[in-house]
């Protein structure tokens, strides 16, 4: 689980790391929308070049990006199989055991694969260069305009930041309990189905018990310090947009524009 790269913050010092989280979130959203335009392979090539440039500026290693994509490989394979079975248009390419693979199936899969990979890279850059707390601060600010529609933007941000805060804690807790139960002879990998169910149960029940206990303690601790949902709060960290932040937004917008042109042209 330590090799899990998706969604992990990497404390490096790069211009991307220092950017305003709001700018980064907005830029990510704009580029994600741009990816959805059917701009053809040329469009994706442009986005890919820009994305890799950002990865390099952020000083992230390509190995790290590759590891964050690994969990998706299985899904891509599954997609390929489904597409090959379902899509039966275009020119037939090769025939395996009386089953013909059509060009559309291959193109379609490639298309989706590239989209997915670009999306993963972009979100990975965001989470790898932005501290989870800054991320939620950014989300809170960006949701502010929706407050007039009674959207509890602060509460949502608080929930997200609490959830993020407890991910490592819960992973640690899971490992601890797994080891404790392994000491009692639990084997999560081998054994009959009944034994496996028992093994999973011996992990989940203690995990839930401690998670609820933690939640209660946290709620008490927050209340004891005067936290009251819905009340206005001051902030320790005030976000400020700077030149490079606007530059990033402009770049993302330009990318979106380019995709639009490629699509309509």
């Amino acid at each position: 689980m330590n090799n899990f790269a998706l969604g992990k913050y990497l404390p490096l010092n790069s211009p991307i790391h220092r950017m305003d989280p709001r700018a980064k979130i907005m830029a990510m959203l704009i580029v994600l929308i741009a990816i959805f335009f059917p701009a053809g392979f040329l469009g994706y090539a442009i986005i890919a070049v820009c994305t890799i440039a950002v990865v390099l500026i952020a000083k992230l290693s390509l190995n790290f990006i590759w590891r964050s994509m690994k969990p998706m490989l299985f899904m891509l394979l599954f997609l390929l199989i489904v597409n090959v079975l379902v899509l039966r248009t275009g020119t037939p390419l090769i025939s395996v055991l009386g089953f013909t693979i059509y060009s559309d199936a291959v193109f379609q899969t490639l298309y989706i694969a590239i989209r997915l990979m670009l999306m993963i890279i972009i979100t990975t850059v965001l989470t790898a260069t932005t501290k989870p707390l800054d991320l939620t601060l950014g989300i809170e600010d960006l949701l502010q305009p929706f407050q007039r529609f009674h959207l509890p933007s602060h509460e949502i941000a608080m929930m997200i930041s609490i959830a993020l805060r407890f991910i490592p804690t819960l992973i640690e807790e899971t490992q601890r309990i797994m080891r404790a139960q392994a000491s009692r002879g639990v084997d999560l990998k081998e054994g009959k189905l009944k034994e496996k169910i028992m093994a999973v149960l011996s992990l989940i029940v203690p995990l839930f018990v401690s998670a609820f206990q933690r939640a209660e303690e946290l709620a008490n601790a927050m209340e004891a310090r005067g936290y009251c949902p819905g009340r206005p709060r001051t902030r320790y960290k005030v976000l400020k947009m700077e030149g490079r932040d606007y530059l990033l937004l402009a770049g993302a917008a330009a990318l979106l524009g380019a995709m639009l042109v490629l699509w309509l042209a």
């Binding site: 330590n2 090799n3 990497l10 807790e173 601890r176 309990i177 080891r179 404790a180 139960q181 392994a182 000491s183 009692r184 002879g185 639990v186 084997d187 149960l201 011996s202 029940v205 203690p206 018990v209 401690s210």
Partner: protein
């Protein structure tokens, strides 16, 4: 027979930017049939060290010999299950591993995993619940309804029911009241003296080390600083000071009096001998 660590190293997340060497070339021999205390600051590698004893962690390099088995980086330990049965490991705050509906089932869970029959597991549960100082009548209750101290006793009972030859306890008395902690330590002593089990205790409590243990292992930043008998360990307080450990009250009293002109022997480690020695010196003056 003894438990032997040979040039054992362990690195967490090795090969990533988060790599952290928790143990560095540890050479250590722990005698069987004794009570050994493992002490050191938080983060010094104590817990990592003890998790090697039942192969929960496999060494990054070096090897460990325990109960006739060898655990090393190259060879995966054979008979992993039988090793885990023979080396009972009680984690820090073991009360969080309880999950069954009744205490009886929870205690019987371990032995059943190691292939003990249902009846035998239940028989053992009835036996060990008394060993840890709880009543047999509690067996039908839910383990989640108990108090913290009782939960911990149930969790320890769950390990004892596996009938391990070596019992490893990671801070078994943390968060217990003084009486509870004392009776807990007394329990481990009895297991050692009456049932001849090898006991390893990770602890921060020097009073417990002095009163209940035979040997002391000092771990500091992943290395073994010292391994000695308790008698030897408390003779001089220089190392304790250097490690920022507060010596037990008796040792402190002895040292303080000696600084003020007394000539009390460094062998003195219990209250009666200390009182007598002070009396003798006061009389002769």
């Amino acid at each position: 027979m003894s438990i032997r660590f040979e040039k054992l190293s362990y690195t967490y997340s090795s090969g990533t930017p988060f790599a952290y060497a928790a143990l560095k070339d540890v050479d250590l021999e722990i005698e069987e049939g004794k009570v050994t205390a493992i002490i050191g600051k938080t983060g010094s590698g104590k817990t990592t060290l003890v998790q090697h004893l039942n192969a929960l962690l496999l060494p990054t390099s070096g090897k460990l010999e325990i109960l006739g088995r060898t655990i090393s980086a190259q060879e995966k330990p054979q008979h992993l299950k039988s090793l885990r049965k023979d080396v009972g490991l009680v984690f820090q705050f073991p009360e969080y591993q309880l999950f069954e509906e009744t205490i009886l089932k929870d205690i019987a869970f371990g032995p059943k995993n190691f292939g003990v029959s249902e009846e035998e597991a239940v028989r053992r549960a009835r036996e060990v619940i008394k060993v840890v100082g709880l009543e047999e009548a509690m067996l039908e209750r839910s383990p989640l309804d108990l108090s913290g101290g009782q939960k911990r006793r149930v969790a320890i009972a769950g390990i004892l029911a596996m009938d391990p030859q070596v019992l490893v306890l990671d801070e078994p008395t943390a968060g217990l009241d003084p009486q509870g902690a004392q009776s807990m330590m007394q329990l481990f002593m009895n297991l050692n003296k009456q049932m001849h089990k090898t006991v390893l205790i990770v602890t921060h409590d020097m009073e417990h080390v002095l009163n209940y243990c035979d040997n002391v292992v000092v771990v500091d930043t992943g290395e073994i600083l010292q391994k000695t008998t308790v008698q030897e360990f408390f003779r001089k307080t220089d190392l304790l000071k250097q490690l920022n450990i507060l010596p037990p009250a008796i040792i402190r009293t002895r040292e303080m009096l000696n600084q003020r002109g007394f000539h009390l022997s460094e062998e003195i480690m219990d209250i009666k001998t200390l009182a007598k020695a002070i009396q003798r010196e006061v009389k002769t003056k």
